[in-house]
């Protein structure tokens, strides 16, 4: 297939290599070195997308990261699909499959284009806020589906991403961002003395604007050749790392810079196992920003037709890729850089129909060159409109009078319009680094002010426009060498015209686009100001100007200037919207790196995990732990399994893995005093060999943890915590030990993973353990409830607790974790003589609820006191102080209507309440009256033979016997308030 707009020679593409690709299903051919945009232009494809709101046909506007229009989706098969890629940055490879977006059924015939014809106002500024206000409910049924179908950008990938992504931490003395003239110069100079330098550039080849300057010579060498030599010099230096295809997307505190490096997207054949992208987390001693400038479009009516692009982009297409933007061009310029484009294009055989210059006079060098090339220059002129449907076919020219009014003069036929609206420094990263910008009144641009970090901006991003100026600043920033001589340059001057171009037409009837990606027009911005918006941050959000994926790279300054004009204020007084990371979109994969699937979070497994798996356990996640939830027999439902497990525990016994309980060893001469201060209970008189239920409060007096604590020796406690609370409790203890109770000699050690814990519960528990213990008398008399013995079990050392979280006779066998499985298997084998069951966390919950034992985090929510829970008995009232004690007598803590823990029995014994459900005094809740409380635990209880529940209810202990209601979608459920205990109220079963 021919490429009608490819020049005969020139550019940096490899013309010997033809690269086939498809766009919207149609086959084309480009060359190695092309982007998708340059290859499509070479093939005469100007129409590349549809706009967001009005579905207007759009072509490419820019040639790089600033591109707002030509967004495409690229699919590679096998789940590899990336939407919203800028065609200007998609490198061509053999077999590339790209699709346009935001159109249906096809790019040329798009149903949504009717949006362009709807009455003015429907899609105007703030349309999101106005159009969808009323009637209530219409959003979900009418507007949202319409918006979702008709608008929006690319579609979300449906399949899991098969690629993997990697992260790298790195350090360097100097980071140079951008490898154009200024960046290369800075890198050369900075690395000369051996400093570690990293250079990052978003493009596949380094050189930036040097690649677009055929007439320019540096030290007598063509600019591109000078760039190649500079890169070769840097490559040869071992202290330099060059990163291409790498976007510095975010600039954070202390010179911490995020770089997103694309590794494989440009390859036709993906290497096996290679990561797709690498995120660099870089800390630099010094940062040199050489991020260049972004040319701005001109805001005139119908400035968005395919074929209308930035003049600098046209130069890039011509000089870098050997592609003409069209055959007949009108150049619309506000500074000399439009002339540079006109001259390049004219020499390549593009007919320059006219250079339309808003200024009364062009610059001197530009005028001379234009004259020499016999260009038709229309000074003090503007474009007031364009024609053409899927590609521009003509431009209306107007003459600007001395009073600023515009008079129509002629129509010029063309197939492309090049806009040179002035260059705006890319200060995004500087601004992200918290440097303050300053406004250059003379040129109408924002420039970097004083840096906030060890950093320097050089070249066009610092307002030093043109290659000569960029080289000079770059070498100076690198601190070595003089800049080489530059000849043959028509340098842009920066800034230039901003705002809307004047015209003679009815402003209500034309669309002059400011933000191409979000379809925001000059009219929208003026309307926002008329409606009272003053701050540019509000204007931005109301109009959505600059809020699309390009973040206003080509719209912020024009939008600001239009708002300033409407407010009749100077630009710097209107302000500037905040620049935020990322500079260009970064994939989620890149941020996630390897943190996905099984590497997303560590998985913690207990010693018996494999046994539980082999015995059919269903697991649940508790924090990072995998815990056996229940052990269904073949064909058994969860409900049936849990009921069987619970009954078996109470009838004969059960075995349960409690290893995930947090464990902390508290050791030292002041261990008891430390425990006195950290727990509500008294510890001084607890004898070694005994245990106590400990309750921990925060200083505000609220319960934060609980657990059984054993005293091993006068100076040694074995503390257990809730499964989820272990790290928090240790941090809480350390905090007080290190910062408040610094007089205490105590050491804290986490021992959670050192001990496997096997709970043996039920009337036969003692019989099971009897033959397995060695040197421990576990008889009823020798080892009472809440005692602790050290010795051996199953041939290994143990800390054996006699405790019960079921209300039955119970032991908890602690053995070194490495012996956990062997001990479990021995105990299990013995337990089978009594027909005992393995039980999981669900049965554990039911069994403890039947006894009214709380679970911190289920019965508590950070606002619950010991008294609320009926746990006053756990408070050492004679202790002068403990953490949280003083708060317990604050007035709010003593109120009678605090929510208190109670039991609930539903009127229908089969009704199991929903945990978290609200509780009211009336069957039909009264509007405006707060709920009494909520259900904290609820189960079908085999022991009670009915449903049971616990709840926090306002003034609950004074409501015994009262009926309350739990309003549910199917109707209110009545329940009676009762004591929160449902089985063995006198505790007679504890001794078996």
């Amino acid at each position: 297939m021919t490429q009608p707009f490819r020049t005969a020679a020139g550019g940096h593409v490899d013309r010997a290599r033809a690269i086939p690709f498809t766009f919207d299903g149609k086959s084309y051919t480009g060359h190695a070195g092309d982007t998708l945009a340059s290859a499509l232009l070479a093939n005469g494809v100007a129409l590349m997308g549809r706009s967001f709101k009005y579905h207007r046909p759009r072509g490419v506007l820019g040639a790089g990261a600033e591109e707002p229009n030509a967004l495409v989706s690229v699919s590679r098969g096998g789940g590899r699909f990336t939407p919203n890629l800028r065609a200007t940055q998609v490198e061509l490879y053999e077999g590339l499959v790209a699709e346009s977006q935001n159109r249906w059924p096809s790019l040329a015939v798009d149903v949504g284009e009717v949006n362009n014809l709807v009455p003015p106002g429907v899609f105007s500024a703030g349309f999101y806020y106005k159009t969808f206000m009323a009637p209530a409910g219409a959003w979900k049924g009418v507007y949202e589906p319409f918006i979702r179908k008709a608008a929006g950008l690319g579609v979300v990938p449906r399949e899991p991403d098969p690629d993997h992504y990697t992260h790298r931490y790195a350090f360097c003395d100097v980071l140079v961002v951008g490898a154009g003239a200024a960046g290369l110069a800075a890198a050369l100079a900075a690395s000369e003395g051996g400093a570690r330098v990293i250079v990052a550039d978003e493009n596949p080849a380094m050189g930036g604007g040097l690649l677009d300057e055929p007439d320019l010579a540096i030290d007598g060498q063509p600019a591109a050749a000078w760039a190649a030599q500079a890169v070769a010099t840097l490559v040869a230096r071992t202290n330099v790392t060059l990163l291409t295809r790498t976007q510095a997307f975010g600039y954070y505190a202390q010179n911490f810079v995020g770089l997103a490096q694309r590794l494989t997207d440009h390859l036709a054949a993906l290497p096996a196992h290679a990561p797709r992208e690498r995120m660099w987390k870089l800390r630099a001693g010094r940062v040199v920003l050489a991020t260049g400038a972004i040319e701005q479009p001109l805001v005139f009516p119908d400035n968005d037709r395919p074929g209308i692009m930035l003049a600098g982009a046209a130069r890039t297409y011509l000089n870098r890729y050997g592609v003409k933007p069209g055959d007949h061009a009108v150049v619309f310029t506000v500074d000399d850089s439009g002339y540079a484009a006109a001259l390049d294009l004219a020499r390549a055989g593009v007919a320059i129909a006219a250079v339309v210059d808003v200024r009364p006079e062009p610059g001197e060098a530009a005028a001379l060159a234009a004259n020499a090339a016999a260009l038709r220059v229309l000074s003090a002129s503007v474009i007031t409109g364009t024609s053409g449907r899927l590609r521009v076919s003509g431009a209306e020219i107007g003459k600007v009078g001395p009073d600023g009014t515009v008079r129509p003069v002629e129509r010029i036929a063309c197939d492309c319009v090049l806009m040179a609206g002035g260059w705006v420094p890319a200060v995004h990263l500087f601004s992200q680094s918290r440097g303050k910008l300053r406004f250059d009144d003379a040129r109408g641009i924002y420039l970097p002010g004083e840096p906030a970090q060890a950093q320097l901006s050089v070249g066009a991003c610092n307002g030093a426009f043109g290659i000569a100026a960029a080289l000079a600043e770059g070498f100076a920033a690198g601190g070595a060498g003089a800049a080489p001589a530059v000849s043959g340059e028509i340098a842009p001057m920066g800034g230039g015209f901003q705002g809307a171009v004047p015209h003679h037409r009815d402003p209500q009837k034309v669309k002059a686009f400011v933000d191409f990606q979000n379809d925001v027009t000059a009219k929208d911005i003026r309307l926002a100001v008329r409606e009272g918006f003053r701050s540019i941050e509000h204007v931005k959000r109301y109009t959505t100007n600059g809020m699309a994926t390009d973040q206003g790279k080509t719209s912020n300054m024009n939008g600001l200037a239009i708002a300033a004009g409407a407010l009749d204020k100077p630009v710097p007084q209107v302000g500037l919207t905040t620049f935020r990371a990322p500079y260009t979109p970064v994939t989620f994969g890149s941020f996630a790196g390897h943190s996905r699937d099984h590497l997303f979070d560590p998985v913690r497994k207990t010693a018996t995990h494999a046994w539980a798996q082999a015995n059919g356990a269903v697991f649940e996640d508790v924090g990072l732990w995998k815990r056996a939830w229940y052990f269904p027999k073949p064909g058994e439902t969860m409900h049936a399994a849990v009921a069987r497990e619970c009954r078996t525990v109470r009838d004969t016994g059960g075995v349960f893995d409690a290893s995930t309980l947090g464990k902390i060893e508290v050791v030292g001469p002041d261990a008891a005093e430390f425990m006195n201060r950290l727990y509500t209970n008294p510890w001084t008189k607890l004898e070694p060999g005994r245990c106590r239920y400990g309750l921990m409060l925060n200083e505000q007096g609220f319960v934060i943890d609980d657990g059984v604590i054993g005293r091993l020796a006068p100076d040694r406690f074995h503390v257990t915590t809730t499964t989820g609370g272990a790290p928090r409790v240790l941090a809480h203890m350390e905090d007080y030990l290190q910062t408040e109770f610094t007089d205490l000699k105590v050491w804290l050690t986490s021992t959670t993973e050192q001990w496997a814990v096997i709970a043996v519960q039920g009337p036969n528990a003692r019989r099971v353990l009897q033959p397995l213990v060695d040197g421990i008398d576990i008889s009823r008399e020798a080892m009472p409830h809440m005692s602790l013995r050290e010795g051996r079990i199953c041939g290994v050392p143990t800390r054996l607790f006699r405790v019960s979280f079921t209300g039955e006779l119970g032991f908890e066998v602690n053995v070194p974790a490495d012996h956990g499985l062997a001990a479990w298997e021995a105990i299990w084998a013995e337990s089978q003589r009594y027909g005992m069951a393995a039980y999981g966390t669900e049965s554990m919950h039911v069994l403890r609820a039947e006894k009214g034992f709380i679970i911190v985090g289920q019965e508590t929510d950070g606002t619950v006191t010991p008294n609320d829970l009926g746990l006053d008995w756990a408070i050492g009232k004679l202790k002068p102080d403990f953490v949280g004690k003083r708060s317990l007598t604050r007035p709010d803590m003593l109120k009678a209507d605090r929510k208190q823990l109670v039991g609930l029995l539903t009127a229908d014994p089969a009704a199991v309440l929903e945990e978290g459900a609200q509780i009211t005094a009336e069957a039909t809740p009264i509007r405006g009256r707060p709920a009494l409380g909520h259900v904290t635990s609820s189960y079908a209880s085999p022991a009670a033979g009915r449903s049971i529940a616990m709840a926090l209810v306002a003034g609950g202990r004074a409501r015994m016997g009262e009926t309350v209601f739990i309003p549910m979608p199917a109707g209110p459920i009545a329940a009676q308030v009762c004591e929160p205990i449902f089985h063995d109220k006198d505790g007679s079963r504890l001794d078996g």
Binding site: Q700, T739, E740
Partner: protein, 101 residues
């Protein structure tokens, strides 16, 4: 990501290794039982929350595990000094004078 100097390890380490711990130099009353309800509520819940330099607690959780104090500017996020728990608060005027803006 901030680099924070742990005064115990005497090393600059990434923020990820640390856990924030609220305002520093809020001492727990030695005898809470003698503190009025109002004063106790102030101790529990009222903090200075300045726009500017702030003395605050940090813990080198994934390092030495020690709590220490830092002087941080809440607008610029710059940490002007770190020092061990129990050491007096540095003179802020000297600090801000020494380190400039």
């Amino acid at each position: 990501m901030l680099l924070i100097r742990c005064p115990v390890c005497e090393m600059d380490r990434p923020e990820l290794e640390f856990r924030y711990g609220g305002e520093a130099h809020v001492a727990r009353p030695l005898d809470p039982s003698s503190v009025s309800d109002q004063d106790w509520a102030e101790y529990l819940y009222f903090r200075s929350n300045p726009r500017g330099v702030h003395a605050e607690r940090w813990r080198h959780t994934s390092g030495c595990g020690r709590f220490f104090n830092a002087i941080r500017h809440t607008v610029t996020d710059r940490i002007l000094a770190t020092y061990k728990a129990g050491e007096p608060k540095p003179d802020l005027a000297t600090l801000t004078g020494e380190t400039g803006r």
